[in-house]
Structures are given as structure tokens and as C-alpha cells.
Symmetry: C2
Subunit: 348 residues, 2 copies
């Protein structure tokens, strides 16, 4: 790993606005990035004391304020590409030099979710993820986060981080994740897990996992997007009808199966449904983002959350064809919200 | 079968309002009811010419105007109890002497859906069901229906009946069923069918069918009802979490499996997704009922349908905690709409 702190901007937030990246990082900014795996002993909420491993990645210059960035259950520690780890990350549009989460100004830290490697077959509470991040910060010598930016499951975990480790957090940005899971959406996830269990007991586990994933993604987009993409007439033969959406299912299922094991899927899906945070336990400054078309996190739940927070909070409501996936697809609107929120946290 | 036409009201619609049921049917009205199974040759839309059997039931007095009543894919020919067939029917609240669909004034005819016995393993278009009903009317010597009242899949079939056999229909009442299936809901049903297929190939077919049913019913009620019934905290042990809704799933699944075979489920579910009626092909007087909270038949689709109809139509919008199941649960409001619609059709 080549590490070039000399190419990095200064760490004093007040001076950051003056940095000219073309001077600081002449052509392609070469920012340091590093990865590690940390063994931790964690007092888990339901599963008791466990020895766990936390895989993490950080990019940005030593001494810069740290922003934790966490996405959905299928996201991971590789948020954005860097010189050292050049494959695209899952939030390439928002994280990088001069992007909304600017790695010239901040160090970006992310973990692979506890349970994502399938080795932890126990009930994982979102609170456990927050505690794992806090323990990792101890290990890395990071006393306090400038901000925590989470979307979907990452937002749920962020709410716990804010409630449980308020002294370590400057600002929370929680996108499309609430203090609870809606009971009807829990019902849908119960079905997803039972599909996997059915396949596991019967030997068709890959097919079952692909099917569970297909069911999950139905909720990730808005009904309008389905309208636009999948309203064409089916192909009907005497004994068989094939609907347009099946091509989509058949494309996404195998991709997911290739990178997710059934145990990881079962435990992280379950973890979403274990979400339970008392909004009044959160006093950290918070930005919430609610998407009107989100079918798995109803905006009404984010309104309830916003009303219950004790600290200063702002609720950003957006409309998006992409529903729950807006944080990945509405690049300019999400980027503007992130830029403003981080500017506030830098100024605080 | 005891048959007592003497206890029945006269058949002239104009005189019906004057009938005193206490005179006509002194204590318990004993109305005739009969059942049959008819072999038919049907030119099916996708499956070609097929020999099919249509099981039907009719109650009410010979010569009374006939109202066809059809419900969802799990409904059947036994709409309401009678002296002859005393077990409760699926629409007991609306059909019977002096109920909204008054068997003292009308004969009520219903069929078991083509495919419901699992013997027809081919693509069944809702139009095929409408044609089967028309062929059955020929067999029974019924030239024209006073009305066709359909809910859910029964409404979809009713739209086809109105489009394909307009000379045989006085009025259509279509509750919570549209001219098409919404692509996102089709996607959910594709998953349901794939669950059954997974179970069938793996040997866990009963469990798979129960699971598919559980997924289906999630859409049948509103999100508010889930909120009210299933928001309690889960039981969490170190290795296992159980959510409140699972008791519900475990109760309904086996009941459904006991009365539905996988082939019937696959073909009738598929049939819903084959729905495709041009609203402008319908010129019969029509009452449409849209439920704001219906999650599987969005009211927007019923608005589109209402706009496109060529004949006189009325759109009734209701709100209901029960969403798609409102036709079974909102007894007084649905009853009032039916009463008014049938009064109009009797007067026409």
C-alpha cells in the first residue's frame, strides 16, 4: 500500500475551503486507503458475548475528520474506488475527491456488516453493528466522528450509534431508514427468509436465495418504476406465460447469489426487523431523508422519528421514481443534501 | 333436493317491491337451490379448444332474474347457505333472503373457476371464464343476466363478460378488480408462483404453497391493519427471532393448502396476471368499486378503467382498513352499493 500524506490537504477544517485540489493532488489525487480486519469481543443484544471480526476500509488523509458511511445490507466496506483499491465502490457517485462526501476533506470509514460473511449465525441487532463500529473506532484511535452517513440498514444502525455513543458523533445523516421496521414490511421479509429456509431444507438453496432477493427488490423501487419498465404484455403459450419482470428477476437473482451466502442473508434480513430505537434517546444533530415513494420505509415512519428526536433535526423529503433505492439513484439531490449536512457538521 | 316454487316471489320485477317475504316464505324462507357440473367445449384464448367441466350452483326461484356472483380465485360456486346446502358460503353477508343480493328476488348463479380443481393445467385467461359462464347460461336456458356482480378476480372476469357478451348482461358491478393487473403486483405473484414451483421441484410443496399464500395475503389488507395487528415486539432468543405475524402465517397457510392444489393455485394466480380488457369495449351499465387502501388493485387503475368505459358508469370510492378484502369485510358499505346497483338494474 502506497501512502502519501504529503499529497493530502491540511486537517484543519477551517482551512479546507481554501485547498486547491489541483495543487494538492496534481493530476489524479492519490489519497491513502487502507483495509483491515479487527477481532473484537462484543456484548451482543440478543446473542450474548461473542468474538467477532470486523472488516473495515478507510480512505482519506491521516488526521482528517472521520465520516462513517454505511449502506444497505448488501453494501460493504468498499464505498468508493481509490488508487489502492480501484474497483468501483457501492457509493461511487457520492464519495471521492470533491464529491459530496469529499475524501480530500474527510476520511471515510466503512465496515462489512457483522454477519455479512455468514460466520455469525445468531440474532444480530442493529445496535450490535453500532457497538462494533464504536469498538473499531477505539482500535483505530478515533475519538469522535465528524459525521455518520447511513442509508437503509446503515441509517438504522446510525440511529443506534447516535443513541448509544452520542459523545462520539458530531452529526447523523440517516437516509431511508427509521427507528423501527414497518410490520407489513417485516411480514414480507419473513416470507423472504422462509423462502430461503424452504430451499435450504429441500436442497434448492441457490434458487431459493435468488427468489428471496427478487421478492426483496420489488419493494426497493416505486410502483411507477414497475409501471414504466414492466408493463408490456406477457409472452403466452398454451401451457406457459412469461411476464416481462421475469427477465429482471432472472438477471438479479444469480448476481446476488454469487456474493451472498444464505446465512448472511437470513441474519441481516432478520436484523432489519429487529430494529427498535426510541427516537427520544437521540440528541445528536440529525438530518433525515424520507422518500415519498419508498415502499419499505414508509415516510410516515420517518415523520414519527423526526417528531421524536430530542436534538436539532432536519427532515428532507424527496420524491423519486426509485423509491427506497433513491439514495443510490438520485445522485444530485442526495449529493446536495449530503454536501449541506457535512458543511454544517464541519462548521459545528 | 326439495324445490318449492310456490314459496317464491313472482318474477315480474315491477311487482317485487310489493312482496312481503313473511307471506311469501312464512318463517325460514325455503328457496330452491341446485348444483350441477356441465361439460363444455371451450375455445380458450391461449390454450386452444379444450373440453372443460363447469361446476355451478344456483339458488332462488325459477323464473326470477338471474344474477351471477363471482369472487376471488379462492371463492367458489357456494356463495351463500340455503336449505339444501346449509354450510356457510363465501359471501354470506351479502347474499340471501332480504340481503343486498336478495334471493327472494333474484336467482343467484355462481361457478367454480375453471382450473380450481387442478385438472386444467394450461394458461387460463379471465376471458375464458367469462365464455364458460356464457356457455353455461346457454345450457341452463338463461338468455340474459339481470346483473353480474364480481369482486377481485370475479370483477376481472365480469369486465370480460360485459365486453364479450353485452347482449346478455343488464348491469355489471365490479368491485376491486380492473382491466389489467398492475406490473408491480404481477411481480409479486410471479414470486408466489415461483415459490410453489420451487417447493414442487424440491418436494416441499405443501410448505411452499402455504408460503405463497402467506405472501399473497400480505397484499390483501392495508398497511394500517398490519400496523394494528402485528406491531408488537418479536420474541428474540440468541439464535432465533419470531415475529408476531408468523402466528398469522402459520394459521392461514395450512387452511389454504387443505383446499387448494398447487396446479389450481398456479393457474388461477397466472390468470389474474393475464388480465387485459380494453375499457372502451365495455358499453354495459357498470358500477365500479375502488378501495383507496387496496394494495393489489391500485385505485388509479380503477380510475383509468372508469374513464375508458363507453357505457354509463358509476365509480364508488371507499376507504377501508381491509384494503383489497373490503368486499368481504365492509358489509354495510358494500351492501348499500349492491342494493342500489341492483335496484337500478331491476328498474332498467
Amino acid at each position: 500500500m502506497s501512502f502519501s500524506p504529503a499529497s493530502c490537504p491540511a486537517h484543519d477544517p477551517a482551512s479546507l475551503a481554501a485547498i486547491d485540489p489541483s495543487t494538492c493532488c496534481p493530476t489524479t489525487p492519490v489519497l491513502p486507503a487502507t483495509r483491515g480486519v479487527r477481532d473484537l469481543t462484543l456484548a451482543m443484544r440478543h446473542a450474548g458475548i461473542r468474538r467477532v471480526q470486523v472488516a473495515w476500509e478507510m480512505q482519506g488523509c491521516a488526521g482528517s475528520p472521520v465520516v462513517v458511511v454505511q449502506g444497505g445490507i448488501s453494501a460493504h466496506r468498499h464505498v468508493a474506488s481509490s488508487e489502492h483499491f480501484s474497483e468501483p465502490g457501492w457509493w461511487q457517485a457520492q464519495v471521492g475527491p470533491q464529491r459530496a462526501i469529499d475524501t480530500l476533506r474527510h476520511r471515510v470509514l466503512a465496515i462489512d456488516w457483522l454477519g455479512a460473511d455468514g460466520s455469525l449465525d445468531a440474532c444480530i441487532d442493529p445496535a450490535d453493528q453500532a457497538d462494533a463500529i464504536a469498538a473499531l473506532l477505539d482500535h483505530l484511535g478515533i475519538a469522535r466522528l465528524r459525521a455518520y452517513v447511513g442509508a437503509s440498514y446503515g441509517a438504522m444502525v446510525g440511529l443506534h450509534f447516535a443513541a448509544r455513543h452520542p459523545a462520539r458523533l458530531g452529526r447523523l445523516v440517516a437516509i431511508s431508514g427509521a427507528h423501527r421496521s414497518h410490520p407489513q414490511v417485516t411480514a414480507l421479509r419473513v416470507i423472504q427468509r422462509r423462502i430461503v429456509a424452504l430451499g435450504r431444507s429441500e436442497g434448492g438453496v441457490r434458487e431459493a436465495l435468488a427468489l428471496a432477493r427478487a421478492l426483496a427488490v420489488i419493494g426497493y423501487r416505486s410502483d411507477r418504476e414497475f409501471e414504466q419498465r414492466f408493463a408490456a404484455a406477457p409472452q403466452v403459450e398454451p401451457a406457459q406465460a412469461r411476464f416481462v419482470v421475469e427477465d429482471y428477476f432472472d438477471a438479479i437473482g444469480p448476481k446476488f447469489v454469487a456474493r451472498f451466502c444464505p446465512t448472511a442473508y437470513l441474519r441481516l434480513s432478520e436484523s432489519i426487523d429487529l430494529q427498535d430505537v426510541d427516537p427520544s434517546s437521540i440528541s445528536v444533530a440529525t438530518d433525515l431523508v424520507a422518500v415519498r415513494e419508498d415502499q419499505i420505509v414508509p415516510e410516515a415512519d420517518l415523520f414519527t422519528l423526526a417528531e421524536g428526536l430530542r436534538g436539532r433535526s432536519r427532515l428532507h423529503r424527496i420524491e423519486s421514481l426509485y423509491g427506497h433505492d433513491a439514495f443510490l439513484k438520485e445522485e444530485s439531490r442526495i449529493g446536495a443534501i449530503l454536501t449541506e449536512a457535512l458543511t454544517r457538521s464541519d462548521a459545528a
